[in-house]
Symmetry: C2
Subunit: 499 residues, 2 copies
């Protein structure tokens, strides 16, 4: 059996493999604060690239960034009944404004009891709604298109790095419109933007659709989502966009004077993606040798590994590779200079090479004395086997670097796309459906009919741990019967196990 | 008396003027959450520019970004005695993990009491120290140079937008070194970096120096600071950099194996600037017509105001100005395309012009029919009087735009620099010193001798509300006597009232 850099392998133990990939790439770690993670530089650099790409897409489509308070008064949360119901159970509650010494106590104890408790934002509809109610007065103020990059907290019982953590980083868009249609269009436009970002940057194909009633955002009229397939064939909800109707406009009193001079409640949306995307990125592409990064989102596209046997060799080769790094950094890749690491650490060349394989850097360039003499480079690609390297003249490599990177990006996407296609199947027989979700590791994305009633959905969830991931946009109307109860159904939905 | 856009003027009521400038420029507002502010798009865009400039300076000097938990267990804070003493009185304390319905209560009440209270980070030395103690094992792991962009919370009794808010945004650098000297050098290098950023981007001259014992960061060995002068001649502490010695390394157990194989405690630093810089920016440059923005930090450098009297004129002029906007956006200013706003809103041309004066945009370009016919533009500059506009051929303006902006940047800086010089004076007589700080509005930066004892410092603070802002780096040793007690002193310090 071939040796792998990550143990266990995906097949041996997928959840454990996931943790090991993160550890081997030095991306993040659990902190001693329950449920909270520390995002280490390599992981955070990926988040910075995600932010940059999304932020410019938001700005291109007319959104502006702002920042709202971390704390939400308890009474605000209570304004929208479904909303508070959805979030109350997982809120960090602030009750005091200081720590103080108390007679007879060894350490400090909370002091300065607040008259009203505050919660750390689990999401900001209610606190942003408070501002919007002041900002919006007339139809001329609309649409109001705001985004916030922030941290949020939702207490988690079973935290997992990037996928489910008590505190996570995200962006939350909040918009206000004068008509229902415009708000609907906004929420769908953003869903497209998310899907395109996943495709074009994360190389991650997604299925766009609508959530069932039970899976909707608390307080939304409609929740739209993108669902991605991980390599264990489970689904990851990678982003959501909510059409909130007038629910939050009513609870926050967001009203505007329309063109006829009458006061109306506005229509709002909200939408977000989070550091969870990094979890998706890892599980969609990585292999048994560690992280695989699509070049467009990688903190570095190229790593140069000088290889030498003596101090004289070292000097020569370092001069050559330093110049190579400079030349590469002059190349523009997707509107930014190529990011190039020159790794001259003390470890053996093999250890250094494996280090960067595990960190997912798209291109590795080894330069030894013979390469230097021939003015050529020994080039490895993360989307190919570690040993599958080839020699390239320096000049050709400089010329082709961008197209090699684009080819890697494309390959990673194609592989994920084929995997999604191969594991998305029409399932019409109940026993087949049960077999797929009851047998260990056989789960897929099942396109099956569902009557639409919450009881069947709930029963399937309980019996099989599979849920309606979404009512996909691209599904056609057709006659069928519910996979669970056999009653008539007009549309297939996506059933899957999920993160 | 000339009419001003901001009322009251600086002279009439400086603190009220400050609030009105922020309001007129639509930068921020108080939120209903006590002490917390909402940063509106125009204010946040300035913060984004500050972040971008500093972030690239940090990266250029080898620092990497990471992210650590928002919550700090109470016991961590208690590890460093001075540190907890300094922050305990202003901590938001989390005691519960959910809100729940309770029989007999109308609303929700806190539930899920935590076994150990958490505080929302007021600063992150202790929680980051916990990670660093795991990351640092050998001298080979050093220096460790980390930065975090984050929100922090320090309960404030008298909040003021940007200057003092319970929650604020900042960056906090945290570094670990193998020697005291290297850590000292790091903290001083960062202080230089802050001072250069203030000078080159915010056009704000600062005085670099060291804090007195009583003004030091809780737990630091030395705190270095940059102090800027506001137009009311009060000081604003604009940034601090702390040499922490081995204090936090000892409390967090950050140890490394040195080259001789022995275990040693490491040497650490921390340093930060915050959204407070925006408050400084406002108070350093703005005038009685509102915000004045240095071009290099402005969200937009140019605003174009089409002026027309009929629909036919409108079409012609919009076509012309849209093209002008495109041409300007092709110009590169400090490695970014010029940001250009085309304001075609319904308001009168005068109202629109004043709008952008109040928002501080460096260049206003008006285009009416006559300008268009002559292919020329009517150009106003925010550093000159509102009416002081001049006609420029379109081609010349395009050619000169960047140098005009640089000239504005330079003028704003020069004005602030002259103001700082004019209001920094050697004061050797006690009665003059008392007069300056006791008389309303007469305060300056007084360069006076101080014996160094805490009692004199405290007495001056209580009697005059003036404090030792810093022991400036550029002050020479000379014989003198303490301005308060008359005992011998070897150095002058900066006394001032402060924000």
């Amino acid at each position: 059996m071939a040796k792998t850099a990550i143990n266990p392998t995906r097949e041996q133990n997928y959840p454990h493999w996931y943790q090991e990939v993160i550890k081997a790439a030095d991306m993040a770690e659990s902190s001693s604060v329950r449920g909270c993670m520390v995002i280490k530089p390599w992981g955070y650099a990926i988040w910075e690239n995600i932010k940059q790409a999304l932020d410019s897409a938001f700005k291109r489509t007319g959104h502006k960034n702002a920042y709202f308070p971390l704390f939400i008064p308890k009474s605000y949360l209570e304004k929208e009944a479904e909303h508070v119901e959805g979030f109350a159970k997982e809120c960090a509650v602030i009750t005091h404004s200081r720590l103080e010494q108390k007679e007879g106590e060894a350490g400090l104890v909370p002091g300065g009891k607040l008259t009203q408790e505050l919660v750390v934002r689990p999401t900001s509809e209610t606190i942003i709604g408070e501002s919007f109610s002041k900002w919006v007065k007339s139809y001329k103020d609309l649409p109001l298109l705001i985004n916030q990059w922030a941290n949020v907290v939702r207490w988690e019982l079973r935290p997992r790095l990037f996928l489910r953590t008590a505190e996570f980083l995200w962006q939350e868009g909040h918009t206000v419109h004068s008509t229902s249609q415009e708000a609907q269009e906004e929420s769908l436009m953003i869903l497209d933007l998310y899907a395109e970002f996943c495709r074009d940057f994360l190389a991650m194909p997604v299925i766009k659709g609508k959530k069932s009633e039970s899976e909707k955002f608390p307080g939304a009229v409609d929740t739209y989502c993108i669902e991605a397939m991980m390599q264990d064939k489970k689904a990851l909800q990678a982003g959501t966009s909510h059409f909130l109707g007038q629910n939050f406009a009513k609870s926050s009193e967001i009203k505007f004077q329309n063109q006829d001079g009458e006061m109306e409640f506005a229509w709002t949306t909200s939408w977000g993606v989070s550091t969870r995307l990094i979890g998706g990125l890892i599980m969609a592409h990585s292999d048994d040798n560690g992280l695989v990064l699509p070049p467009r989102i990688a903190p570095a596209q190229v790593v140069i590994l000088p290889i030498y046997k003596s101090e004289t060799e070292r000097e020569k080769i370092l001069e050559y590779t330093t110049q190579l790094q400079k030349d590469l950094e002059k190349i523009c890749y997707h509107n930014k200079p190529l990011e190039v690491i020159l790794d001259d650490s003390n470890a053996t060349s093999s250890a250094r090479s494996w280090e960067w394989i595990k960190k997912g850097v798209p291109i590795r360039v080894e330069v030894g004395l013979r390469d230097l003499e021939q003015d050529s480079l020994f080039v490895g690609r993360r989307d190919l086997e570690p040993r599958d390297k080839k020699s390239l003249p320096r000049a050709s490599f400089l010329q082709e670097a961008c197209s090699i990177l684009e080819n890697i990006q494309f390959n990673i996407y194609s592989k994920a796309k084929s995997f999604l296609r191969a594991n998305t199947k029409i399932v019409d027989k109940k026993d087949e459906f049960f077999d797929l979700f009851k047998s260990k590791g056989k789960q897929i994305f099942a396109l099956s009919h569902w009557c639409g009633c919450a009881e069947c959905e709930q029963a399937i969830k309980q019996e099989l741990k599979a849920t309606v991931r979404c009512l996909p946009f691209d599904s056609q109307e057709e006659e069928g019967v519910c996979i669970y109860c056999g009653k008539p159904s007009k549309k297939r939905v996506v059933f899957a196990k999920s993160y």
